[in-house]
């Protein structure tokens, strides 16, 4: 337990705690289907030749999720890393490609994080979002900037504020949870004359978040309390839009102020937990698009500033405490030009972004700065029953140390191609075969490169190759709908960036040494039918994933399943609506996992079942709508662990009220 090790540990803790970026918005008209976006009946309309999932407002309501992380855990193939409680960090991996391979974008604008490369999904509440989309292979949102095409996976968030209201819109939201956590928000949006619209939204989250739990390392004899979990967080966002048919301009400003206690690992028999975290984030975006005939020209300027402070008031050093802060700034600008042909989906596009970032912290060597240029060229075409979609992105990076003593500068340049093919053999296109390949990478982050003692400036980008082969079949009748989809995939990650000890326990370093072979199958089905006034929707998804470590054939771990990756996981939903009443139940099943590389019993984390059920009622009064929903979360009341030493809350209740006025 020497300092370097402590630094390493606090590095890990900080990775687990950083909350960067945030956003907000409102809610929209129900679309009662949770399906692959891909299920569209006309060949010319095929937009997805890739796995692409969309969670619409009604589905988000059914899930009872409060933030984007909670919602995405129901997407097949997604594993949510959840540290439990309120305000805890949430990230997702999809088919064993982690958060570092995932872009998060709000209304087409990328949310950056050059420090850890990871965006905390619990900073994006669902209130105020029209839609949450997840795609693998390429970004799907046509507003995406060039940067969005780089990475393997994309989480696309569409805010209500960015869409023009008919006249005005007013919404209130409240969510009270019996783990002593509360959320309250409001949204207002109005038209200013014919061409302008303006809106704002606000969210307050607070509470002690305390919950009782049985420690997984005990025999269940002692009921303990997960403490030091209080949160006080408010966020707002405003957006001014101009829509003149051909020309569209939006400008938005967001702010997030967060003060929270950090519930660290639940260390057996040790109740002392007193760390705190503060975040202050600003985000400003200016988006412009100009349409003429079949040409679209889009431009954007983004500014992001994040401040994080971590404080541990009790530490056994002479100083007696740990106090570290991080300041990150990103300025981005870019343009993308596209032209469509016979169909909207048949188009070519070319674009480029320039991003300047810098980071200041006591724990990061030499105030690093990064300049990057990200460019994309791509297109899609339809021929016969086929759709070909391809793009090529290029990233160039110059890293410089601001306070450099050695004046070292580092350059990276990398290409990332994507190609996909869709085939609809039937006239009505209810059967679709699709395949894609993407060769991508993740650049080393500032933590990887410059973190005190651990960072390694010789790192190379981590490479990933993705292959997918899938089929979707849909039957759409007047009174019922059925969909089935199956995907098989193979991903390979090489030059994986991992921390390894160099000389002894006190000297660790980031190295490009890992390789992972990832194979899997996903199958899913959805059935929706109407009987008299009842509408019943049920879906089931099953994922099988083998992600094995192929780093070193002489290692004991060669061929072992990588940490936190279940072989089997499943998400299922059941929903009935009747005259405004709704009943929904969602079950998430995760098989066993391992908390470390070695697949032994000591590292085994048991599987879990997370079941929630709820009743809701929708009252429609002229232009007003009131939605009341009572949910029981984690009905089975088991303090399962997604991450080792972070037990989740047991059974708790959630009451949500949404009130909307639309004109």
């Amino acid at each position: 337990m020497h300092l370097k090790r402590n630094i390493f540990l606090s590095f890990c803790i900080l990775l687990a705690c950083q909350t960067f970026g945030q956003d907000t918005s409102l809610y929209l008209k129900p679309i009662p289907v949770f399906a692959k976006q891909d299920t569209i009946l006309k060949l010319a309309m095929i937009t997805a030749t890739i796995p692409h999932y969309e969670l619409q407002q009604a589905k988000l309501d059914e899930l009872g999720a409060a933030d984007v992380g909670d919602a995405l855990k129901y997407v097949p193939g997604v594993q949510l890393r959840d540290y439990g409680g309120i305000g805890g960090i949430k990230t997702v991996s999809f088919r064993s490609l982690g958060a570092g391979h995932t872009t998060v974008q709000m209304d087409g604008n990328q949310i950056p994080n050059v420090q850890s490369g990871v965006i905390n999904l619990s900073s994006f509440e669902l209130f105020g979002l029209e839609k949450v989309a997840f795609s693998s292979g390429r970004a799907v949102d046509q507003r995406s900037s060039a940067t969005a095409y780089l990475q393997a996976n994309t989480i696309a968030l569409n805010s209500k504020l960015a869409s023009q209201p008919t006249k005005f819109r007013l919404g209130f939201y409240s969510n009270s949870m019996s783990i002593n956590a509360y959320e309250n928000g409001g949204l207002a949006q109005a038209r200013l004359g014919k061409r302008f619209f303006i809106g704002g939204q606000f969210l307050l989250r607070l509470g002690s978040g305390t919950y009782p739990f049985y420690h997984p390392e005990e025999d269940g004899a002692v009921l303990r309390t997960r403490a030091n979990t209080a949160l006080f967080n408010y966020r707002w966002r405003t957006l001014l839009g101009y829509d003149h048919g051909k020309t569209k301009v939006t400008t938005s400003l967001s702010f997030n102020d967060n003060e929270q206690e950090l519930p660290g690992a639940a260390v057996l028999f040790n109740p002392s937990n007193d760390q705190k975290l503060w975040n202050k984030d600003w985000r400003a975006n200016l988006n412009h698009s100009f349409k003429k005939g079949k040409w679209v020209w889009q431009n954007h300027i983004d500014f992001n500033q994040n401040y994080t402070r971590y404080f541990d008031p009790y530490n056994l050093s002479l100083l007696g405490f740990i106090d570290v802060d991080y300041q990150q700034r990103n300025l981005a600008g870019g343009s993308i030009l596209s032209k469509s042909f016979r169909f909207p989906a048949e188009r070519i596009f070319i674009g480029s972004d320039v991003i300047a970032s810098h980071l200041l912290s006591q724990t990061i060597n030499g105030a690093p700065q990064r300049m990057q240029s990200n460019s994309v060229i791509g297109g899609a075409t339809l021929f016969g029953k086929f759709k070909l979609d391809a793009n090529l992105t290029a990233q160039f990076i110059i890293d410089r140390l601001g306070e450099s003593v050695t004046g070292q500068e580092r350059n990276y340049g990398k290409l990332s191609p994507f190609i996909s093919l869709g085939y609809s053999p039937l006239k009505k296109a209810t059967l679709r075969l699709r395949t894609f390949f993407k060769n991508t990478f993740r650049m080393p982050t500032f933590n990887d490169l410059y973190y005190n003692f651990i960072g390694n400036t010789n790192l190379l980008p981590e490479d990933a190759n993705l292959f997918n082969l899938g089929v979707t079949y849909g039957v759409y009748k007047k009174r019922w709908t059925a969909e089935f989809s199956a995907d098989a995939y193979y991903n390979r990650v090489t030059n994986k960036i991992i921390a390894i000890p160099t000389k002894d326990l006190f000297n660790w370093s980031m190295q490009n040494i890992g390789s992972t072979d990832i194979r899997g199958v996903e199958v899913g089905g959805l059935l929706s039918f109407a009987v008299r006034e009842f509408r019943i929707t049920t879906n089931t998804n099953h994922s099988f994933n083998e992600s094995i470590d192929v780093t070193d054939p002489s290692s004991e771990n060669y061929g072992d399943q990588i940490p936190y990756t279940p072989y089997y996981s499943s998400s299922n939903g059941f929903n009935v609506t009747w005259k405004g009443y709704g009943f929904s139940s969602n079950v998430l099943i995760s098989g066993f996992r391992f908390s470390l590389n070695e697949n032994n019993y000591a590292n085994l984390l048991p599987g879990f079942v997370d079941l929630n059920s709820g009743l809701s009622k929708k009252f429609n009064l002229k232009s007003n709508e009131l939605f009341v929903d009572l949910k029981v979360q984690n009905l089975l009341n088991k303090n399962y662990q997604v991450i080792r030493s972070f037990p989740m809350p047991g059974r708790y209740y959630q009451l949500r009220i949404k009130y909307t006025i639309k004109k």
Partner: protein
């Protein structure tokens, strides 16, 4: 239907990969009990028992129905009133666990807290009916092993990391290990009769492990700062409480046998022997451990006269323990848990 069958087959394949719960030995005799530190905040400190043929993992948990906690740093065996016990210091859980040596059943659990703040016990020494535990918060706790109570707390230096008893005195090396780059460099001396601090003297930065030879001299390991200040071996005369010799060398672990000790040389990646009678180092290595992935300590088994070396395998995998005879011949190997840190040899 076929879809369900397909899922069932895949489920079956997936469930086959699940490791089985470990079994327990019939008795904890004629074997080696290993304390595995585990990783910080993972609650996975554990014990392994090797009976000469098979190694049994997670034996503490199997016997007690619960984990030992987080970051177990040290354990020692002792006898009291005709019974055999083991005392364990669990650092991050901040507990002293007392268990029966041959059943591993918990007899007592003594929390070490200052209010809600963990003192973090690090190292233990037994003398008579008392256990002396140095805590990372700069104290030494005196524990009565009959009543299992803390009878005194003595303030020492920063982050004490080693204990030895010479005569009626307890020597505590203050590492200041959490204060990089300004480490502590002192030794605290406590009179065991009066339980009072009698002297603090300068040694060298970041000092941790200590051993005492048959002449009563103390050998102290100073780790340096892992950068420009190298590690060193210090010889201390407890009659004058002075450092009589400082040998700068990349030493990181010691195991006392008789008339000398074996130590690990980080640069040479080999085990050497230091003769405490002639005060000489045998310049030819006793054993090369260059093929270890991560050398992590050396222990001496006096009953069987053999040396045990730990390969921590990158610290994130189970450790491997290798046994050698004192002629340097490889005897056997077994697997322990995560970060094997100490051993007790049961007969």
């Amino acid at each position: 239907m076929r879809g369900i069958q397909f899922i069932a087959v895949l489920l079956l394949i997936a469930s086959c990969k699940k490791p089985e719960a470990p079994s327990i030995p019939e008795r904890y005799e004629n074997g080696i009990l290993v304390l595995n530190e585990g990783l910080y905040e993972q609650n996975n400190a554990s014990m392994t028992f090797y009976d000469g043929a098979e190694s049994f993992q997670l034996v503490f948990k199997s016997e007690n129905g619960r984990g030992i906690g987080d970051t177990a740093n040290d354990f020692d065996a002792y006898s009291l009133l005709g019974k055999e016990y083991i005392i364990v210091a669990v650092n991050l859980s901040s507990q002293i666990e007392i268990i029966e040596r041959k059943t591993l059943k918990v007899v007592a659990q003594i929390p070490l807290y200052d209010g809600i703040n963990a003192r973090q016990p690090r190292d233990i020494d037994i003398y008579g009916t008392r256990a002396y535990v140095c805590n990372f918060d700069g104290t030494v706790a005196v524990i009565d092993l009959i009543s299992y109570t803390i009878i005194d707390l003595i303030e020492v230096g920063a982050n004490p990391d080693g204990l030895v008893i010479v005569g009626d005195y307890l020597y505590v090396s203050n590492s200041g290990g959490l204060d990089y780059p300004v480490y502590d460099s002192t030794m605290s001396v406590i009179n065991l009769s009066s339980l009072s601090l009698v002297e603090t003297f300068e040694t060298r930065i970041n000092s941790t492990q200590m051993i005492v030879d048959e002449q009563g001299e103390i050998y102290l390991l100073s780790n340096g700062n892992y950068a420009d200040v190298s590690a060193a071996l210090l010889r201390i005369d407890p009659t004058t409480n002075t450092v009589v010799q400082t040998i700068e060398m990349p030493i990181s672990s010691m195991a006392y046998t008789y008339n000398g000790f074996y130590y690990y040389d980080e640069d040479e990646q080999a085990i050497y022997f230091y003769n405490t009678v002639t005060e000489d180092i045998n310049t030819s290595p006793f054993l090369s451990v260059a093929d270890y992935e991560t050398f992590h300590g050396i222990k001496y088994d006096a009953q069987n006269d053999r040396l045990l070396c730990v390969d921590a395998n990158g610290y994130v995998n189970s450790s491997t323990v290798n046994a050698y005879s004192l002629s340097g011949e490889f005897l056997f190997q077994f697997q322990a848990g995560l970060l094997a840190t100490d051993m007790i040899f049961n007969n």
